[in-house]
């Protein structure tokens, strides 16, 4: 009986693998070609170099600060995590750099994925080959995600190694887990921007237009939406100096909800909770809720639970962007007219 079940499972796994991988003709070829293109492109090299330099510098400065601080106070809780979140003097912390430059990487990898092929006249040649049309867009998306994952994980691990040798305190198992989760989260975040760029590359015929549209959305979601959320909340729920606590709470909640439309804010919140275990809530807290609470770090599981909605939101946003580009691409006329 159990053997039969195992065989059944193996069969299903085989089917799943067949469906995902060699079963789709051309997917592998497109994936390989896109990977090679990204790795050889100067565009990717420049961006990776910028991110790497910024990241290494941030960690170095943070490590120096932490060293001085530890000598002074002998406070050692979650020291290793502070490498990523501590800012040293004039340099912002590592997480800010990744949060700021990550979207650029995602946009740069995807903004000309489809319209670039169209403009060069290679798309009609590509779809005349015996491959499913979705292999083209799937292969490109998968290759982009793979490149992003490679970049973020290698950067994260290099930086962690450097931090280790600088401060000389190894991470605890929980810290390592939190850092790995943070890296996975960052891959997800950059994948959202890749999906958005892909969508624009299907929507717009000109590569310059799709690049600009990507930048515009990046600015809007990264900078303006936060400000706008405040303005809208002020207009809808005005709070003066003598406003009652209920109104203040409503105002705060509205502002937060509006801000959370932006993946950037979701990502920032999730990063905060993952790398700073002392953060117990996101959003307004009433005095009655903290009354009697013992201040202390959350266990990893609880932190993860706290940011579960943020993670779900990010994945959903990515999938929605990709799904729209997929549908549009499948229905588009191939002819370059």
């Amino acid at each position: 009986m159990s053997e039969r079940r195992r065989d059944g499972a193996a069969l299903w796994l085989g089917r799943l693998r067949g469906y995902l991988w060699p079963g789709a003709p051309g997917l592998r070829a497109v994936y390989r070609k896109e990977m090679a293109d990204h790795i050889n492109s100067s565009r990717f090299m420049i961006l990776a170099a910028i991110v790497a330099i910024a990241g290494l510098a941030a960690i170095y400065v943070a490590a120096l600060n932490i060293r001085a601080e530890v000598r002074r106070t002998a406070e050692t809780g979650f020291i290793f995590l502070r490498l990523f979140t501590a800012s040293g003097g004039s340099l912002p912390p590592f997480t800010s750099f990744v949060g700021f430059l990550g979207p650029l990487v995602g946009l740069a990898l995807g903004f000309d994925a489809i319209n670039g092929e169209r403009a060069r006249g290679t798309l009609s040649r590509l779809v005349a080959q015996p491959i499913y049309r979705d292999s083209v867009i799937n292969g490109k998306f998968l290759a982009g995600i793979a490149i992003i994952a490679m970049m973020i994980f290698s950067l994260g691990l290099i930086v962690a190694g450097m931090g280790l040798s600088l401060i000389g305190i190894p991470p605890t198992a929980e810290e390592a887990l939190r850092i790995l989760s943070y890296l996975v989260l960052s891959v997800l975040y950059v994948a959202f921007w890749l999906a958005l760029a892909l969508l624009f590359s299907v929507l717009f015929r000109q590569t310059a237009t799709s690049a600009l549209a990507g930048m515009a959305v990046w600015l809007f979601l990264g900078v303006f939406l936060g400000l706008l959320a405040g303005l809208v909340a002020d207009a809808l729920v005005p709070v003066g100096s003598d406003a009652d606590p209920g109104a203040v709470l409503r105002h705060e909640r509205l502002q937060l909800a509006l801000g959370r439309l932006s993946p950037t804010i979701l990502y920032d919140e999730a990063t905060l909770v993952l790398l700073q275990p002392h953060v117990r809530t996101l959003g307004p807290v009433l005095l009655t809720q903290v009354y009697g609470a013992v201040p202390g770090p959350l266990p990893f599981g609880q932190s993860l639970l706290l940011i579960w909605p943020q993670l779900t939101g990010l994945v959903a946003a990515t999938l929605i962007c990709f799904a729209i580009s997929y549908v549009l691409f499948m229905r588009q006329e191939i002819r370059a007219a």
Binding site: G26, A29, R120, A128, P130, E333, R335
Partner: protein, 321 residues
Amino acid sequence: MTGNREHVIRTENLTKRYGQLVAVKDLNLEIARGEVFGLLGPNGAGKTTTILMLLGLTEPTAGSVRVLGRDPAREALAVKARVGYLPEDVGFYEHLTGRQNLMYTADLNGLDPAEATRRVERLLGQVGLSEVADKRVEQYSHGMRQRLGLADVLVKDPEIIILDEPTQGIDPEGAEELLALIRDLSRNRGMTVLISSHLLDQMQRICDRVAIFVRGEVVAEGPIETLGRQVMRGEPLIVEVEVAGPDDVDEAARSLAGLPEVQAVDRSGENLLLVRCSADVREHIASHLIQRGFSLRHLRLRGYELSDIYMRYFRGGEGHV
């Protein structure tokens, strides 16, 4: 000519509409294995749309298509595996070499690397690009790109190749080389070739049969030699005659008017005479003129060459607009 041979491409009342615009109307084509078939027509006549429907890249509004016995809209992969397509203004990945571009196509067709390497090498030699195979495509001339395109089409070892305006924008010498390659594929390898073009003289040289396309409709179809008779049936025969010396022209006209089959002689321009006859009497006219001491410079039966047919329909086509 197409007697009982297998038809590898067959369309029945194939129609494609884009909103109000009818791009292709009731197209009936039958192309036999090993044939070189030309789709001839001005730009925007529906040639590319027809090709896209043959490949399943766009769906017909009505009618049916069979390519190698299959419906390209439903069994796109099976059709595309056996049909090579060279699009108009074919593009390549500029940052890759010619060889890398072909290897990518081989990979997309699922060839194993060893076989792909061999085949790409052979094809590069065949189209004369062996020496530049490892240069980036951005350094290629237009003619080299077209030849690379032909090699790209052949990577999958197709039974049918479809070429959309393959000689567009290449210099005459390059076009000649490309046409020679295409002819060779058909003669020596039995490949079926479908070419679309608006360049008449080239089509005339390599096609077994042509279909003339005007605004989505085929106005004439068949082997080139019979096309003239087919189209010009019922029209009067006109022979163009030109003799040396303007003074001789009138005299020659009078002399020709006396021949039995000649109905009328009109003078057109400086030296040209248009002789309307009841039968093709070019031999008579020639010997008649030469016997009488005229030096004959030009003699041609008007309306039976493809260019006349072509011009006639193209003018007709524009006349309706």
